[in-house]
């Protein structure tokens, strides 16, 4: 299997993007965006994780089997989140007897 070697500028570019996104995360922490606080923070985190997985972990240039493994792991994480949210978002919808 041939190994794809990315040019150095790709790694430097990804590193700089990660640094900029980190700076934005820190900056946004000082601004109250209301309900968007979590959305923005998680959005930046997911973007950074995607960059690391695609370029630093070489998934962008890997075989389809590797990509499938990554996608199925993320799907598993998705299941974890969905079921936890199914609890968290519906707690208290049904009143407690006696209260």
């Amino acid at each position: 299997m041939s190994v794809h070697v990315s040019p150095l500028r790709v790694y430097v570019g990804v590193f700089l993007a990660l640094m900029v996104l980190t700076a934005i995360t820190v900056g946004v922490a000082f601004v109250d965006l209301g309900p968007l606080n979590n959305v923005v923070a998680l959005g930046i985190a997911v973007t950074k994780a995607t960059l690391v997985v695609l370029f630093f972990m070489h998934v962008a240039h890997s075989s389809r089997l590797i990509k499938l493994s990554v996608v199925s792991s993320i799907f598993w994480l998705f299941l974890l989140f969905v079921f936890i949210l199914a609890d968290d978002l519906t707690r208290g919808l049904l009143g407690v007897a006696g209260k």
Binding site: L79, F83, I84, A86, D87, T90, R91
Partner: protein, 550 residues
Amino acid sequence: METTLPTAELPERHYLNQGQGIASWLLTKDHKRIAIMYLLGVTFFFLLGGIMAMLIRLELLTPQGDLLEPDTYNRVFTMHGVFMVFFVLLPVVPAILGNFLIPIMIGAKDLAFPKINLLSWYLYMIGGGLTMYAMVRGGVDTGWTFYTPFSSTYSNTHVMATAIGVFINGFSGILTGVNFIVTIHRMRAPGLTWFRLPLFVWGHYATSLIQVLGTPVVAIAIALVGLERLFHLGIFDASRGGDPVLFQHLFWFYSHPAVYIMVLPPMGVISELVAAFSRKPVFGYRIVAYSSIGIAVLGFLVWGHHMFVSGQSVYASVVFSVLTMLVAIPSAIKVFNWSSTLYRGSVSYETPMLYALAFLGLFLIGGLTGVMLATLGFDVYVHDTYFVVAHFHYVMVGGAIVSFLGGLHYWWPKMFGRMYPVFWSKLSALLVFVGFNLTFFPQFIVGYLGMPRRYWQYPAEFQVWNVLSTAGASVLAIGFLLPGCYLLWSLKYGKVAGPNPWGALGLEWTIPSPPPTENFDGVPVVKGEPYDYQTGEEIFGILGKEAHVV
């Protein structure tokens, strides 16, 4: 069926005598030697956990708390759970029998990553060592489940050392899982298609998926407890915006599927035993294979049934309840198919088969009480009672330990080349079955009557059930100790077994006992279906020596 071949002789060269001295073991990359090292480690931790179990049963012999201090009792049942779950039940079948047999069953010389396999064993021992350190320093009292906020905020015992021990041990499981997945995908012998694999291998494949996908989550959950204790982050602290129930979600996301890590490989063992001692192919081979994957996938979506009284949303609880009942379907498929395999088979009652039959009965009770507990209303009533304790012991001990003993007695002649005494082995199988039921069946009753778990004293009217349970535990202990004696004896004095003492089918029975380090002389080829006892055709060959490869 003949159990021994009187004229057989031990092979001159085998994996046990290739390399002498302790270093040849501690630095070995041979999957068979690593399996033996796991056997020693697991046996040691099983003894430790067993001593804790006997202390619990002795304390509960009388209603008053008169043997242990209440705090000591909390530590004893916690250490019992921690050692038994993480260091015995999880590795017992995959790390010992799986390690030894998977490469041989698929016709390979070793696992895909032999050095990583050795690393897994070291991580297991380091994790176990740290947990023992915690025990010696005074133990931990959170229960094996480490529930927050008690574990993260209030407990003054050695939570951190235990948690780190369990965390490190988790990586051992992940690495073993990765090793098995890659080996099964990439190293199967020519002709060994997915649906010619022994069901033992299917069970391990399904378990490996769970280990790789689930273990990191519990590792993160335990790491978060550590961070919370050290830096008071508030992740699980409601007063700081955190949520203690979140820990239960993260913990059970792994720890419920972990039950399937414990029972899927044993189910693979049972498939092998039932086929070999019924002289029939496993009924519905494909559906049994698919049901392993079905259990692995569905088993990931049921964890909330541990949390029905935790404050979890009722809506989520209803979904978890339904999904839990669904997982009974693939489990029942297996039990029905094993029973159908027995039907009109040429059944013989050798020691491994006695354990397999015991498994069928015990797993049936464990599984059916699981469906009862999946029912919301009933679970709320018996939650945290001895009914639950009895249920999970029926599944985990009746499943994992009993089938491990069956598998150990089946493959022991392959591992060491010698047979054990038939009478004593059958007696021990009987003692395990009787002792187990006497220990845990009364716990269903006393739990249903309302006796909670994790208390060191109880109302006097529950005593009769507890006396029965303690008596059963004593019988069970003898049943577990006996194999330790006669198996050790057999290493030197047992009759030489020969390559295939059971007349069984499978690649492992085509090579000498004990096998050579490289397992096979050449590259084996597989030309037929597994468990083809009825036609009796030769389904294996060696590449180059056999012309036809299907």
